[in-house]
Structures are given as structure tokens and as C-alpha cells.
């Protein structure tokens, strides 16, 4: 019996997810032993044709990390979807849009203008921008289209499982691979992480008081953080209560609040809104002015509550100029 074939691919991502795979360390050898890697452009020299050559469903599994922003990424996602029996969104970006998804706060035009014209490090007096199609002597050259907004993987193709995290914690990857190899898989659509919030495994949980009443919200750089006490109790905006566990509270171990990269639990439709609700509930104020004063400690609510999930959120994108928004939609 031949080994099951797997593929790894990256879209709009930082590469950290690839690192996470490598972080499996010596276990990666077991993986390689168990499966045949049919496609992994980051690590090995594969071409798109290698995938195209495969029969539909020939891949036992495909892991895609990164969000979808360009036509090429979408094409690859569709391609891999057709070849793979199981498609796994790997990491926050493909799961929920990730940090690149925060680009949804801006129009495509705003982004291009800034990147090619306005960024302090840019010198571009002719305001040249990359063109999707350009005529050269040899013929027509094309570049992938840069879409109006960022999408999650499951907003592009059907996804079977999600491996959450930025990047996915090694432990979760390991158990996902095991489940995959043993065929012991949960219902389709599942997130391959515990469905309980992070507090459950937080070492500081016992230090969280039963009655928390926040009079002030602080940011990590503003205070000397006690390394033992619950961060929320210290007024820091820790999203642990609203985020899946499975990371072993790694950030908290690093004395930093949870930023929510594993996303919400399965019961939650919009993780940001839920986190917002929980946090607002804890404020110690009844007068509007006082509430506003405390809330001033959250200068960037979207950045806080949707750091990894703006494209997956109910609102999905900033409401900007309606005209531009309408034309940019592709899929």
C-alpha cells in the first residue's frame, strides 16, 4: 500500500505556519515516513503542474495556510480542493483571515496608494503601480489580481477542518496528524482544538477573582506586569476567556495577554463581539461618562477583538465608499 499523499501550501501568510510544521522537530521524520509529501513549495521544489497532474482526490490531505487575497491564491485553493480528500485550513489566516485580514479595514485603493506612493520609504515620483496585465515584446504578461478584500479559506473553497493558531501550536498539529492518519476524525467542519476557552488551561486561573470590576484598562507596555496574577485582574486585555485553548497558554507563560489567535469556541458566531460583550460586562461603572472614560483604554477595538478574525467576522469588512466596495468583489 502506498503512503498517503499530502500537500502543504501557503497563501497570504507570513511563513510562520511553515515554521510551525518544521517545529515538529524530530517528529517530522515520522510524518515524512508516514506520508508522501506531494507538494510543499516552501520546503521543496514543486511546481503547480505537479499538483495538476494528480487525479482528483489523490491527495489524502492538503494543508493550506494564509488568507486569500489574490486570484492566484484562490486558484491554488480550488486546485488543491479538487485534488484533496481532506482540506485543512492551517493557521489563523486561513481559518479566520488572520492578521492580513485586518487589511479589510482599508480599501484596496487605499492600500495600493500607501504601499506604492505614500509609505515613507517609497520613492515613486511616476506613481507607477504593478499592472495585472502588461504588454511586452514577448507578448502579454499577467500578474495575479489583487482583490478588493481578504477572505478566509472557507470563504473561497469548502474546508473540512481547521487547525487554529498563529501559528498552530505544535501539540495541535501533532494530534491533528495522528487523527488524520488513524482516520479518527471528528465531524466535518470541526476546529481541531479543544472547545473550551483558554482559562481552562491557564496557570494563572486560580488568581482570577470571582468578582472582577475593571476601573481602568491597561496595555502591556504601560505597566509592570505581575508574572503570577491573572492578566485581566491586572487590567490587561487578555482574550483568554473568549479564545479556544490548546496552546498551553503560551503567551501568558511569556507574561503577555492572549490575543485570541485560536479563535472562539464553536458556540460563538462572532468571536470579537462575544469578547467585547464579556469585557464590557466587567467594567466598574454605571454612568455613561465614566464608562466612556474607561473605554478610552481601547483605542482600537477592531485590532483588539478581531486581530485574527476580521474577514471571518459578521461585518467582514469596513464599510467604506460603497462604489468601490461593490466593484471589487470577485468570487
Amino acid at each position: 500500500m502506498s503512503k498517503p499523499k499530502v500537500a502543504f501550501y501557503w497563501c497570504a501568510s507570513c511563513g510562520g505556519c511553515e515554521e510551525a510544521v518544521v517545529d515538529l522537530a524530530e517528529e517530522i521524520l515520522q510524518v515524512v515516513e508516514a506520508v508522501e509529501i506531494a507538494f510543499w513549495p516552501v520546503a521543496l521544489d514543486f511546481k503547480r503542474e505537479d499538483v495538476e497532474r494528480l487525479a482528483d482526490g489523490e491527495l489524502a490531505a492538503a494543508f493550506i495556510n494564509g488568507a486569500i487575497r489574490t486570484s492566484e491564491q484562490a486558484e491554488m485553493a480550488h486546485l488543491l480542493r479538487s485534488k484533496a480528500q481532506v482540506l485543512i485550513a492551517f493557521g489563523s489566516c486561513s481559518h479566520m483571515g488572520g492578521v492580513p485580514g485586518l487589511a479589510n479595514l482599508f480599501d484596496r485603493e487605499e492600500i495600493l496608494r500607501y504601499v506604492y506612493e505614500e509609505a515613507p520609504s517609497v520613492v515613486n515620483p511616476q506613481r507607477v503601480r504593478p499592472e495585472e496585465r502588461i504588454e511586452v515584446d514577448e507578448g502579454m504578461l499577467t500578474l495575479p489580481a489583487f482583490w478588493e478584500g481578504v477572505q478566509t479559506l472557507d470563504q473561497t473553497v469548502e474546508v473540512d477542518y481547521y487547525l487554529p493558531g498563529c501559528p498552530p501550536p505544535v501539540g495541535l498539529i501533532r494530534s491533528a496528524l495522528q487523527a488524520l492518519l488513524t482516520g479518527n476524525l471528528p465531524p466535518k467542519g470541526s476546529v481541531l482544538a479543544p472547545d473550551v476557552a483558554l482559562c481552562a488551561e491557564c496557570p494563572r486561573k486560580p488568581t482570577k477573582p470571582e468578582r472582577l470590576a475593571l476601573k481602568e484598562l491597561k496595555r502591556p507596555h504601560q505597566v509592570l506586569i505581575d508574572p503570577e496574577t491573572c492578566l485581566l485582574a491586572q487590567g490587561l486585555l487578555c482574550l483568554g476567556p473568549a479564545t479556544r485553548s490548546g496552546c498551553g497558554a503560551a503567551c501568558i507563560a511569556g507574561n503577555m495577554p492572549c490575543t485570541g489567535c485560536l479563535g472562539p469556541t464553536s458556540r460563538v458566531l462572532d468571536g470579537g463581539a462575544k469578547a467585547l460583550s464579556a469585557l464590557a460586562s466587567l467594567l466598574d461603572a454605571t454612568e455613561e461618562a465614566e464608562i466612556e472614560r474607561i473605554l478610552a483604554g481601547i483605542p482600537d477595538p477592531v485590532g483588539l477583538f478581531y486581530r485574527y478574525s476580521l474577514p471571518a467576522s459578521l461585518l467582514h469588512r469596513r464599510v467604506g465608499n460603497g462604489e468601490r466596495l461593490r466593484e471589487g468583489r470577485s468570487s
Binding site: D195, V196, A197, L198, C199, A200, K205, K208, P209, E210, R211, L212, A213, G240, P241, A242, S245, P264, T265, S266, R267, V268, L269, K274, A275, S277, A278, S281, L282
Partner: protein
């Protein structure tokens, strides 16, 4: 997955019933169209319309369909769920279904009655029905919680309403705590001389009831006391009562009043509250001879011992029973009751707020309540109507609607002023032979024997001048106006402006909520109407209930009311309390929150949010747990739970999301 696997109670089979409510709904909403629309919605098996769904045949129609079409979910689009939700849930129960597979759509109060355009009303009704269909798919079987009821009752306020309610309950064998703020019960009625329209002597009909309260083995009477805290819920209220010190031991005092004679103040010299300052009392006093309990009290504000620490305290020696106790402290009593009746009464409008009537400025301008004391045989003048200088008035003007029917003060009609003005007019004329003028906007005499009383006064030659008085002044123009108070008014029936000189002006002040009605309302967790009177649950069908189960209203705390109406309402409130207690238990709406334990991370967010301390942290399992017996079902914790482990029966997220989509999907 198939529907029956996903949804509770098997695959949804929904019946939709749209009520015409006569023309209340059908006159605006195209009911037929709504029904046809409902038939197109997923899982809807039958959809029907009927004239009155709440009628017996309407209910039977639903039962029939449940049996025949094996319906497992029912939607009724009719009036507000606050009116008939219970009715239709019972229908499901009777047909063998769990009553909570039901959703009500409010297309009367929220659609037909508030929408002008029939087209829009129909569309709105359709959207609401669609939302309910989506929602009810996600309903689950639930059961009501039963909680036993304490069989004691608290009555707050010892006026005629409170007295009547307390006696009714006590006679039925229930133990009643009657709490009154003043040193005596009796309320405003004790201040009156006669009652309209029969001119019964108020004391003659009230004092027997007061003594009955004092003597009743089932009544614990706490006067000079105030409720300070209320906790719990229907059937199980915990109430704390502060008993202010009288400096007289109630159990020992026999009301011989020798202490009063013995007081170092030989003469009564302090304004007497009961007589509204028209009479005088000593620092140790009894409010009035028939005060109940017949126990004296010491006012520390005027008692020389309390003020200076130096006094011979002759009262101490005078008391053979050694009942006087200068060391007495306030006491806090804690009681548990199943029901509460609020009968906290009213206060009269402060006539100083209308300076043009001169109250407080001209000594001969009186409020009606003061005149009640003047005409009272037990009052400061022994029932003689005398001006402050001792003269007997020859002409008296009674100004109606003082503080009532006036956008600047109170919009409402105080309801009793016309009648008590007639009564006072009669009494003043009878006692003094004076010419009496009534200045009125409209005469309102809608009660048994009231119009007849008005007719009698007309025949007695009392003047009725239709017109609202502009001012009362002592500015005389003609010689015979000298030394008089002149009432300036348009006689609207004759069409001239008149200046009428009188010796005495009586201001028929309106009735207002008690000044602390707002605090009382909050303490008892009930609502107030706009004007500040306690709000009844339904103006027609639940006039003595409040929105808080187990708390009932009696008397003028609910709105201006005369004695017969107060007594009637007190009886009704007592009956409602009795029905509640005698049933022995209450069934609570199963809309409690609950936590899916295996999903809880123990983040504790919910714990501090619960106003009822229903959520606690289980240290062993390190998760939050809800005591559903304490939960009242507000759902605040559910909205806050950051991981979706906390939920609420009847208001599940999924149900509400469906409702949201539903109302928007079909517009």
C-alpha cells in the same frame, strides 16, 4: 443529517394560527395573505385563520390539528404574549405536547394597532410570523419550576386600603404584617370629618376597623416603622423592616396619657402634625384620641431631654407601667412573606407651587386637608369653621383642580376633589351659613350617589362658577372688597370676568404620589406610571397586580382614588394574595440560564454579573455553576459568557439568531 435528527422533538411539524381578533387585527392586516404566506414557510404543516383564536373553538382548532397533523410546534399570531401566551401554552399541554414548543407573534399591539397602512401592516405581520417559524424550530421541551409559597403577607401602609386588605387576609386565617410609617394607622381617612356622598362620620366607620386591626390575632402591627429592604421573589420575599424608637415601650403602654399631663411643658406648644400645624401638641403625645395603637411617643426633636440632656423627666414618674424608655433604639425586624400588598397612599399637592393662589402668603387661604381638620369635631377648633383670627367666614371660595389638570404640575384629574369640595361646601355652609362658591373646570361626579350629591348642593344654593381661578389677591378695588380675599375668575357660563370677595379660600389640592414613591418602587422592584403612581400590570384586566409577581397594589398609591374604590381595590388585592398563598406554590417561567459544564473554562466572567448570586464557582471542577432556583432569567450572564458555555432556556442564541434572520428575510 435529517431534520428530525438535528431538531428536538423530531422533525418540525409547525402549525401557524393567525387571529383576526374581530377587526382589531383583520381590520388592518390581510390575515388571509399572512396565512397563505405562512404555508410557504419551511416545516409549516398547517396554517389557519380564525376570528378569535383565544376563544374555545379557536383553542379546540389547535388541539384538533395537533392530534390530526401530528404538529409538534405551534405559532399563534395574535395579541401580546403578555396577554395570552399562557392560554396557548396550555392548549399545547392539553394536546399532549410540551407547552414550550410554542411561539406567540404579537401582530395586534405591535402591528395592527400601530400601523397606518394596511399593506405595511400585512408585510410586518408576515415578517414577524416568518421569524417565529424559524425560531420555534429551535425550541426545546421545558418544564416550569415549582416553588413553595410562604403563607404570610406583608401589607405596607395603614390607611383605609391597607387596613382593609390586612383585615381581609387576617380573617381568612393568614398572618399579616401591617407596616405603617406614622405612629398610628388610619391614614388620610382618619383626618376627615365626613365622607361623601353619604356624609357618614369618617371616624365612626374607620375606628372600629382600626381597633379590629390592633386586636386581631393574625395581624402583627408595626407602626412608626418602614420597610428598608426587599429580597427574593414571588412566594418567597425576605423583608427587613426598621422600627423607629418611640421611646415608649409599646407592650407596656396602656394609653392612659398621664405622661402627657405630667410633661414639664405645661401647655401644648409644638405644631401638631396630625392637625397639619393647626393645633399644638407636647413633645410626648398621641396623634389623636383614637390613634391605633393607643401608645404615646416622644418626639426627640422637641423633647427637652433629648435636646439638652437636662429635664426633670416628670413623664417617667407619671408612668406607673414604666413604659417610657429614653434609651430605646431602633430595631430591624426580618420577616419572610409570600405576598406583598402596597397601600402606601398619596400626598396632597403642595399649594405653594401655585403662588397666584396665595397659599402661605394669605393666612386665610387653606388647603382642603386643613379644612378637613377644621370641620372635624375632633379637630383643633372642635369642628367650628373659624379663620385664623377666630372670625367665622361669611363667604368662602373653593378652588377646584389645584395642581390637577395642569400641564405645569399634573396632567391628570385627581378624581376626588370635585366630590370632597362638594362635601366641604356642604359642611362649611351647614356650620357657618356662609355663601360658598365653587370654581370648577368641569364637575366630575361619576359615582354611586355622587351626581345626586352635586344636585343637592346646587339646590342648597352653593354657587358653582365654571372657570379656573386666575388669582387670589387682597388688592381691593371696590369698598366691599376691602379686607377680603378677592378671587378673580372668568365666569365662562355667563361670559364675564368676575371679582368675588371672600373671607376664606379653600384650595382643592390634587393627589400626588408619595414623595418617596420612587424609592419604594425601586425597593419593591415595580414600575411607576409617568406621573409616579405605581403601575398596575394591566389597566383593565390586572388592575391590582404589578409586573412583579406576588406584589399587589391597593388604594391611592396606584392612582387617585376615593374611599370606596380604595377599599374595593384593597379587597381585590387581598383576594389575589390569598389565591397565590392558598395555591401553595408558584410556577416559574423556565427561562433560567444554565451552564454547559463541559464547555465552561471557569473564566468567572459571569459570576459577578448575577444580581441574585445565582452563579458560584465550583472550586473542585474549576467551573461556574448556576443555581437555577435563584436564577430569574435575565440572561445577562449568557450575553457575557465569552465562550458560549452559558445559555438561557427560551432565549437560546440560536433561537434569537433565527428570529433576527427571520424578521429581515421576508421584508
Amino acid at each position: 443529517m435529517r431534520a428530525h435528527e438535528i431538531y428536538p422533538n423530531g422533525g418540525p411539524r409547525i402549525g401557524v394560527y393567525v387571529c383576526h381578533c374581530g377587526l382589531n387585527i383583520a381590520g388592518k392586516v390581510d390575515v388571509h395573505e399572512v396565512v397563505e404566506f405562512a404555508k410557504t414557510l419551511p416545516f409549516v404543516v398547517v396554517a389557519r385563520e380564525y376570528k378569535f383564536m383565544c376563544s374555545d373553538p379557536g383553542q379546540e382548532m389547535i388541539r384538533e390539528d395537533i392530534r390530526e397533523h401530528r404538529l409538534n410546534r405551534v405559532i399563534v399570531a395574535s395579541c401580546s404574549p403578555l396577554l395570552h401566551e399562557a392560554t396557548f401554552r396550555r392548549v399545547l399541554e392539553q394536546a399532549g405536547q410540551n407547552p414550550f414548543f410554542f411561539q406567540m407573534v404579537n401582530i395586534r399591539e405591535h402591528v395592527s394597532w400601530v400601523t397606518e397602512d394596511p399593506r405595511e401592516a400585512t408585510e410586518k405581520a408576515k415578517a414577524l410570523v416568518a421569524a417565529a417559524v424559524r425560531r420555534v424550530i429551535f425550541h426545546e421541551p421545558l418544564q416550569r419550576r415549582r416553588v413553595p409559597v410562604k403563607d404570610h403577607v406583608l401589607v405596607v401602609g395603614g390607611g383605609i386600603a391597607g387596613i382593609h386588605a390586612a383585615l381581609t387576609l387576617a380573617d381568612a386565617g393568614k398572618h399579616v404584617y401591617l407596616v405603617e410609617r406614622e405612629p398610628t394607622i388610619g391614614g388620610h381617612m382618619a383626618m376627615f370629618d365626613k365622607t361623601f356622598p353619604t356624609l357618614d362620620c369618617a371616624a365612626c366607620i374607620l375606628t372600629p376597623k382600626m381597633s379590629a386591626v390592633a386586636a386581631h390575632p393574625n395581624i402583627t402591627l408595626w407602626t412608626y416603622s418602614e420597610v428598608i429592604q426587599v429580597e427574593g421573589f414571588v412566594g418567597n420575599f425576605r423583608v427587613r423592616v426598621r422600627r423607629k424608637p418611640r421611646y415608649v415601650i409599646e407592650e407596656l403602654c396602656v394609653g392612659c396619657l398621664q405622661c402627657i399631663d405630667a410633661c414639664v411643658y405645661k401647655d401644648a406648644r409644638f405644631p401638631d402634625e396630625f392637625n397639619l400645624g393647626l393645633g399644638k401638641r407636647k413633645p410626648i403625645y398621641i396623634p389623636f384620641p383614637q390613634a391605633t395603637p393607643r401608645v404615646v411617643l416622644i418626639d426627640p426633636e422637641t423633647c427637652i431631654w433629648f435636646k439638652t440632656g437636662k429635664c426633670k423627666r416628670t413623664c417617667l414618674e407619671a408612668c406607673e407601667r414604666k413604659a417610657i424608655d429614653f434609651e430605646q433604639q431602633e430595631r430591624i425586624e426580618e420577616i419572610e412573606v409570600g405576598a406583598i400588598i402596597l397601600a402606601t397612599g398619596f400626598k396632597t399637592f403642595d399649594a405653594r407651587r401655585i403662588p397666584e393662589y396665595g397659599y402661605g402668603k394669605y393666612p386665610n387661604v387653606y388647603t382642603a386637608l386643613e379644612v378637613e381638620r377644621l370641620v372635624n369635631a375632633a379637630g383643633p377648633t372642635g369642628g367650628e369653621v373659624r379663620l385664623r383670627d377666630g372670625r367665622v367666614p361669611k363667604r368662602v371660595g373653593i378652588i377646584h383642580c389645584v395642581g390637577s389638570r395642569d400641564e405645569r404640575f399634573n396632567r391628570y384629574c385627581s378624581r376626588v376633589c370635585c366630590m370632597y369640595s362638594l362635601k366641604l361646601a356642604h359642611l362649611i355652609k351647614e356650620r357657618t351659613g356662609a355663601e360658598v362658591y365653587n370654581f370648577y373646570i368641569d364637575m366630575r361626579t361619576p359615582g354611586k350617589g355622587y351626581e345626586e350629591f352635586y344636585d343637592r348642593l346646587l339646590q342648597e344654593g352653593v354657587h358653582f362658577i365654571r372657570g379656573r381661578v386666575a388669582e387670589v389677591t387682597d388688592w381691593a378695588i371696590t369698598p366691599e372688597e376691602e379686607g377680603k380675599l378677592i378671587i378673580r375668575v372668568e365666569d365662562t357660563l355667563i361670559g364675564v370676568v368676575r371679582r368675588i370677595p371672600v373671607d376664606m379660600v379653600v384650595l382643592a389640592v390634587g393627589l400626588e404620589p408619595q414623595p418617596d414613591a420612587e424609592e419604594v418602587r425601586r425597593m419593591f422592584n415595580i414600575s411607576c406610571s409617568k406621573e409616579g403612581f405605581f403601575l398596575e400590570r394591566h389597566p383593565k384586566l390586572a388592575p391590582v397586580s404589578t409586573f412583579t409577581d406576588g406584589i399587589f397594589l391597593a388604594g391611592a398609591c396606584q392612582g387617585p382614588k376615593d374611599i370606596p374604590d380604595s377599599v374595593a381595590q384593597a379587597g381585590a388585592a387581598a383576594a389575589e394574595a390569598l389565591a397565590l398563598i392558598d395555591k401553595g406554590y408558584v410556577e416559574l417561567e423556565p427561562n433560567t440560564a444554565y451552564i454547559v459544564e463541559e464547555l465552561c473554562s471557569g473564566c468567572k466572567t459571569c459570576i459577578s454579573l448575577c444580581p441574585y448570586n445565582a452563579i458560584s464557582f465550583d472550586e473542585v471542577r474549576a467551573i461556574a455553576v448556576i443555581n437555577e432556583a435563584l436564577c430569574k432569567g435575565c440572561g445577562t450572564c449568557v450575553a457575557a459568557c465569552p465562550s458560549g458555555a452559558a445559555r438561557q432556556h427560551l432565549f437560546e442564541d440560536a433561537q434569537i439568531f433565527q428570529e433576527i434572520e427571520g424578521v429581515l428575510a421576508y421584508v
